[in-house]
């Protein structure tokens, strides 16, 4: 690592700091929820290391606690994390020329939070293209370390948090914080309402099929509304939609 690379790495880590402030309670709540759902502490920490995707981990923790079938866990994870394909598509042009080991590492670190600061850096154009991936790495590692440490803290505190605190409500309320500001045009509002109503109506379907039906219905309505109310900005990435 030369001096410029180190500087880029540190700049990325620094840019990630404001987001880390919001991640601290989120990670702690995840750790607490996971152990109270009956997941052994070691496995709860493994979830943060191996899956490394907050929202999917929250949902998986709830589902695993009630003995949900394997395949349902996998498909649910796929649907919940499908949005990362959007980030992958958006960053691909910047990382495709990197060696494979770099692409593997950066893909592992591609969270909503790391994406949010990295895409701004890549599209900002004030840095040299040759060392930008060090910025991405710095942002990604900063988030990774925060997520692991706060998960561990949550696991340690978890058993001491009484159920009457309703900490499980932190999940929907965090998602509200992420999704509401992103509802900036009619197609997005339509997609959200359709998916929400479908999820209610189809809630009793087995195997999380309700979630799948809701996601599909929401996407279709969003696309349909777009035909009548074209989105002005070109097909790019909704940066406001960043969360865990």
């Amino acid at each position: 690592m030369d001096n410029f690379q180190r500087q880029a790495l540190l700049a990325g880590a620094k840019a990630e700091l404001p987001i880390v402030v919001g991640v601290i309670p989120f990670g702690m709540i995840f750790g607490a929820i996971a152990v109270t759902a009956g997941i052994p502490p070691l496995l709860a920490q493994s979830m943060s290391i191996i899956i490394f995707a907050g929202s999917a981990q929250f949902i998986a923790a709830g589902l695993m606690g009630v003995g949900t079938p394997f395949l349902v866990l996998l498909t649910t994870t796929f649907i919940v994390n499908l949005r990362h394909m959007l980030y992958s598509a958006s960053l691909a042009e910047h990382v495709r020329s990197l060696p494979l080991r770099w692409r593997l590492l950066l893909a592992y670190l591609l969270t909503d939070e790391a994406y949010a600061v990295t895409i701004l850096h890549y599209t900002g154009g004030e840095s040299s293209a040759a060392i930008r991936h060090w910025f991405y790495l710095g942002a990604g590692l900063m988030l990774w370390i925060s997520w692991q440490v706060t998960t561990a803290l949550g696991i340690l505190l978890g058993a001491r948090i009484p159920p009457s605190w309703s900490l499980d409500f932190a999940l929907p309320v965090t998602f509200i914080a992420i999704v509401v500001p992103a509802l900036r045009d009619r197609p997005h509002i339509g997609a959200a309402i359709t998916a929400g109503v479908t999820a209610i109506v189809a809630h009793d379907l087995p195997y999380q099929l309700g979630l799948m039906a809701a996601a599909l219905a929401g996407i279709l309505v969003g696309l349909a509304l777009e035909r009548f109310n074209p989105v002005r900005q070109p097909a790019t990435i909704p940066q406001e939609e960043s969360g865990t």
């Binding site: 999917a56 994390n81 593997l104 309703s166 929907p172 998916a195 979630l211 929401g218």
Partner: protein, 112 residues
Amino acid sequence: MININPETLTMALAILGMGLITFSIRLSLFLLPESVTLAPWMLRALRYVPAAVLSAIIMPELLLPGGSLDMSLSNERLLAGVMAAVVAWRTRNILLTVGVGLGLLWILQALL
């Protein structure tokens, strides 16, 4: 000693599987050659994924507490969620939204 029972093993396998799926999604477009890009309709469809999926998770949590539909004013989660949504709309501040939502739920639960 780590005591490995079948339930723990199943969980461990599930975690590995979920990790593999998440990693594959993130890696997917990083591996494509430069000449290949996603079709425009796919990119458009992907744009609605976060709003659709997150709403599908939020709404049952607010409207189906305990498993049955409750749209009354005694549904604390619904009230706290709506208030959190207002805060999110106005401030776009994640921390503040979470704080108001959770805080209000605790107050309502203490009162109702």
